[in-house]
């Protein structure tokens, strides 16, 4: 029985199994190569943007990147304290602010923090104008009178290199200063050192043990600096605005110092992150829960109206002879194919107070000319227009399910003595439920993400969460919050879609056919 044991060989002598496996591998590779360009295209043009949005909803690098020294210094401050933080924080903040103002990034930081605590944007803007005119100029003058070498940028260059360990603030401020000057395009060795460097040097010298430097210039400066009139940076900031002494301001900065924050997500559900943990926003600022609720409620109303209007039509289409049904189907498909803007404009025209519908109602004397109905720029307008726009998405899946219900079921029920109503309700309707499910999920998914129609006919009370997302992207520029709201909406849709896939299956998506 050796014929069974020995492997079957192909013409060129390789075992058949291996040869088939290779062929299968090649076929898989070829299929994948055909798909690969499109996959790459969609990943780059579509999936990457979505991933970017998810990332932006938690990203918060701006605080850390703009005021790194302050963030570092605030770590040692206990936010439970009733007073403002110590001088070290104000020193660090002064250094950070000077360079932030040079890069003009302090206003951006101010607007970012303003989302969390109103008033910070103007506080940062105001301080940015004044931070270059602090009394730290006195330090600069005093050092320069002591030794003209302090006027020379080269002295700083040498010291920042050799004494970096004993002069940490000076070294770090000098490094940032070099970047700032070079970004300006000028030669750092020609430049005049800024006041902020002298302030950092003064702070370093006061901290270091007396006479501990190898460099005689520094030892001399240290003993002289002890006699300088100290400039309190805390008071300098307080002179700009008393708010800098408010510990709440510093708590906000400390709370949002992390590179990633759940803050935007908390804001999207009317919460806020404070030093004492998560809290509700003030009564007047709570709008998002209301807006999410309204979006869900109105989508539900639209879905139900679509079922009520779509079911009879789908039933009629499914039970008429094919030729008649096909002609009537055009009445469903034409709106489906007409531009969304066309349908929205026609509703805008029809529903106006001086529009066609009100004119007809007045002409029929149903409504008095003085009390024309307000049908637009409110929830009614959004619901009417969106029901019209989404109705084909309900009729088409309902129709395709109803086509598969054999007419003999109802006839059998009737022959067994059921009335028309019982035959419909106990036999036909249960069979059509999958169609209602599919259509409802589809209409609901489309409705909760709608933007254009609510924007145009919704007024202020008929808008959806998507209108708020658009507002934050283009008007308030709070992109993080827009991304967080978008992420919540995206996950809601994905969960619904997953349900849809369970009911209908992803491959059964039909396009008007």
């Amino acid at each position: 029985m050796t014929a069974i044991d020995s492997p079957v060989l192909t013409a060129d002598g390789t075992p058949l199994k291996a040869s088939l496996r290779r062929a299968l591998r090649r076929e898989k590779a070829r299929a994948f190569l055909l798909v690969a360009p499109l996959l790459l295209f969609v990943l780059l043009t579509f999936i990457a943007p979505i991933a970017d949005m998810l990332f932006r909803s938690v990203e918060n690098g701006i605080v850390h990147d703009t005021i790194p020294r302050t963030v570092q210094a605030l770590r040692n401050w206990d936010p439970e304290e009733s007073g403002p933080p110590g001088d070290d924080v104000f020193e660090a903040f002064y250094t950070d602010m000077v360079f932030a103002v040079e890069r003009k990034s302090h206003t951006r930081l101010g607007s970012r923090l303003n989302y969390e605590r109103t008033g910070l944007a103007s506080l940062f803007r105001k301080s940015g104008r004044r931070v270059g005119k602090f009394d730290t100029k006195d330090y600069a003058d005093a050092f320069k009178t002591l030794d003209p070498a302090w006027e020379d940028a080269a002295t700083w260059d040498v010291l920042a290199g050799s004494e970096a360990a004993s002069l940490p603030r000076t070294a770090s401020a000098h490094a940032t200063w070099l970047e700032a000057v070079q970004a300006d395009g000028s030669d750092p060795l020609e430049g005049e050192p800024w006041d902020v460097l002298y302030a950092a040097l003064y702070a370093d010298l006061m901290q270091a043990p007396a006479g501990g430097f190898e460099n005689p210039l520094l030892n001399g400066a240290q003993s002289a600096a002890a006699g300088f009139e100290p400039v309190s940076l805390r008071e300098q900031f307080a002179a700009i605005d008393e708010d800098w002494l408010d510990p709440q301001v510093w708590r906000t900065i400390r709370t949002y110092a992390g590179r990633y924050t759940p803050g935007y997500f908390l804001n999207s559900v009317d919460l806020k992150l404070t030093a004492d943990g998560v809290q509700y926003r003030d009564e007047g600022d709570r709008i998002y829960i209301l807006l999410f609720g309204r979006t869900l409620y109105m989508s539900l109303v639209i879905t139900i109206s679509c079922i009520l209007l779509g079911y009879p039509v789908a039933f009629l289409l499914a039970n008429l002879p094919l030729r008649t049904a096909n002609i009537l189907m055009i009445l469903v498909l034409l709106p489906f194919w007409t531009s969304l803007l066309v349908r929205t404009s026609s509703w805008k025209v029809l529903l106006q107070q001086q529009g066609v519908i009100n004119d007809i109602l007045v002409a029929l004397r149903i409504v008095d000319d003085a009390s024309r109905l307000i049908l637009i720029n409110n929830q009614t307008g959004t619901i009417i227009a969106m029901t019209h726009i989404l109705l084909p998405f309900m009729i088409l899946p309902l129709y395709s399910v109803m086509k598969t219900i054999p007419p003999s079921y109802v006839r059998a029920a009737k022959s067994l003595g059921a009335t028309d109503w019982t035959a419909f309700w106990r036999v036909y309707f249960p069979n059509s439920v999958p169609g209602i499910g599919a259509g409802s999920v589809l209409v609901f998914i489309l409705a909760i993400g709608y933007y254009i129609t609510p924007e145009l006919v919704g007024g202020t009370r008929g808008v959806f969460i998507s209108n708020r997302i658009a507002y934050h992207i283009s008007s308030s520029l709070n992109w993080g919050l827009a991304a967080a709201l978008g992420t919540i909406l995206l996950f809601a849709v994905l969960i619904l879609y997953w349900t849809y896939d369970r009911i209908v299956g992803i491959d059964n998506v039909k396009l008007g056919g």
Binding site: A31, L38, V356, G486
Partner: protein, 284 residues
């Protein structure tokens, strides 16, 4: 449903006709808003309602002035040309990539088929406002925001699911032994594709392309965010017109667009019937 039996009771008869009336009302609701703007677009006045002259079918009540405005106003003309420049390019991209991928996906052995399909279909599922937000953020990072190619790439991505769905549906009925026959007669894969496979799936490819074209041509949310004033398309111009100062020219544009969609719908319907007849799937 069709016709009543002679023994139908009074209630049955009433219900039968009442039901038809209900359906008629719903059909009216579906179609009337689209029909009503057509006569309104010929209004001689700048009103959005029927004037007494129009109702009296007086010739003076009607005019082509709103159409005239559309064809002479530089804003509308610019918007029309932008739409004509963007939509075909986006369609070309989604059809060429999409057809290739659909052929790949219809092979019997495709690794990670479900996952790939989910990714390719996703632009159709994700709400437009979210796609628009993500694209706005990402395209401004890489410098595509506010550029012609940014809008074209975004629209191509949105059109791809439609091409994939229609072309894979056509390929389901494709007889694979035809390509094997061509290969056994000595045709190389390129010839087989061009001479055998492509002519047979062409109806599907064209209707997929029409879907992609309509998606791009009608799209307004993404172009609002990804585009800049230089890429202002027709729907965008309509959107601004509706939000700010609504002018009757919009009705003329709307009428033109309805005509375009009727033509496209008819084309797709003819192609679908042809393709079903070719595959012997349609009863009539």
């Amino acid at each position: 449903m069709s016709g009543l039996p002679p023994y139908a009771s009074f209630t049955q008869k009433t219900w039968h006709y009442a039901f038809r009336v209900i359906c008629g009302v719903v059909f009216f609701f579906l179609i009337a808003p689209i029909i009503v703007i057509i006569p309104l677009s010929f209004n001689a006045e700048d009103f959005f309602t029927f004037t007494p002259e129009m109702l009296a079918l007086d010739r003076d009540g009607y005019s082509l002035k709103h159409y005239n405005d559309f064809f002479t106003n530089p804003d509308w003309q610019q918007a029309m040309w932008n739409s004509i420049r963007i939509a075909p390019m986006a369609t070309l991209l989604s059809v060429s990539f999409g057809t290739l991928a659909a052929i790949g996906l219809s092979q019997p052995h495709v690794p990670f088929r479900r996952a790939i399909m989910a990714i390719l279909i996703s632009p159709m599922i994700v709400p437009l406002i979210i796609s628009a937000a993500g694209m706005y953020f990402f395209y401004s990072r890489i410098g595509l925001q506010g550029s012609y190619w940014g809008v074209v790439l975004a629209h191509a991505a949105l059109g791809i699911p439609f091409v994939i769905i229609t072309v894979t549906a056509t390929l389901v009925g494709f007889d694979r032994s035809l390509t094997r026959a061509a290969a056994s007669l000595g045709a190389n894969p390129v010839t087989t594709f061009a001479k055998v496979q492509m002519p047979l799936i062409l109806p599907g490819v064209i209707s997929g392309g029409l879907f992609a074209f309509i998606t791009s041509f009608d799209e307004v949310v993404v172009v609002l965010f990804v585009g800049s004033a230089g890429q202002k398309t027709l729907p965008w111009q309509m959107f601004t017109g509706l939000r700010e100062q609504i002018s009757p020219t919009i009705l003329a544009v709307a009428t033109i667009l309805v005509t375009v969609s009727v033509v496209l719908l008819a084309t797709i319907e003819i192609l679908r019937r042809r393709s079903e007849r070719l595959r012997g799937m349609s009863p009539g």
